[in-house]
Symmetry: C2
Subunit: 148 residues, 2 copies
DNA sequence: ATTCTTGCAAATGATTTGCATGTAA
DNA sequence: TTACATGCAAATCATTTGCAAGAAT
């Protein structure tokens, strides 16, 4: 069965069934084990920018005996399979995972510590760098707060 | 004696005398000990985006018996005194120190791993974010390579 | 049977901390 | 003498690795 993986838009949260998770894993060449399905469901459709620790905490409540090594192992596999992106932000030592694998920027709320996505078209970056700079990517982190 | 600290531009590398380092330390309320002068001279006028480890390596060659704790301790003090800025880049787990304390962006050379500064005026960022976003800072990291 | 996965514990790398000693106003 | 600095080793935190045991094909 042929799956048009890249044409499928990033899912909004909470809308992926277990069957869909399994399909996404296998389409990406990842063997769908119980642990991977569980973590996949959490990070791909429920969590927002979780850390490995967030995933472990969630697993401790929702999965019988999952080791921390398996959490890291699985997250790394999902990143390699391009189902997940990892980020290191200036404000934290921890890696944060993002199920939004399309290019986008980030907003860091200095009051709450919450990281949120900013769609590419919301930020325009113009550079005056010389042609000797061969640019492959531009990452923008905007910090501030959100008025309630 | 009154020193116009903020009107003094960021020094290009290698041009700060020991006396100038001592003055900058004391002006910022940092007690100028031998270790702090040595590290200060290195990170403020010689090194380019060094890590704590780079500083330790340098100290081992140029200062008798400086402990790693003192290296970290001193770097943290220089950051608190606003003589140094610290950055965590997406590509590394290590903190990188920058003696350019004016606002600026960064270029990460994917071939060499070298981080370089990009002056503010070389990058223009336009956002279409709603007014509920109260922006305090925008950080841009451009990745790529430089043609030789 | 062979290959892949998991769990556990130990290892690693970066940074911090506790504490006793040293130094300076 | 009182406060601050330093060096050392141990502690901590995030992450990785080695390896033995388990599951799947």
């Amino acid at each position: 069965m042929k799956v048009k993986q890249s044409s499928k838009k990033h899912m909004t949260h909470g809308c992926l069934s277990q069957a869909e998770i399994i399909e996404r894993l296998e389409t990406s060449g990842v063997n769908a084990t119980a642990q991977r399905i569980a973590i996949g469901k959490y990070v791909l459709s429920e969590a927002e920018h979780p850390t490995a620790d967030d995933v472990k905490l969630w697993a401790d409540k929702n999965f019988p005996k999952m080791s921390l090594a398996t959490v890291y192992n699985t997250l790394n596999i999902l990143v390699e399979a391009k189902l997940l992106k990892e980020f290191k932000f200036p404000h934290t030592g921890k890696v944060v995972y993002d199920s939004n694998i399309t290019k986008h920027h980030h907003f860091y709320d200095e009051d709450t510590g919450i990281v949120s996505d900013i769609p590419l078209d919301q930020v325009e970056v113009l550079t005056k760098l010389k042609r000797t700079y061969n640019i492959t990517d531009i990452e923008v982190v905007i910090r501030g707060s959100r008025r309630r």
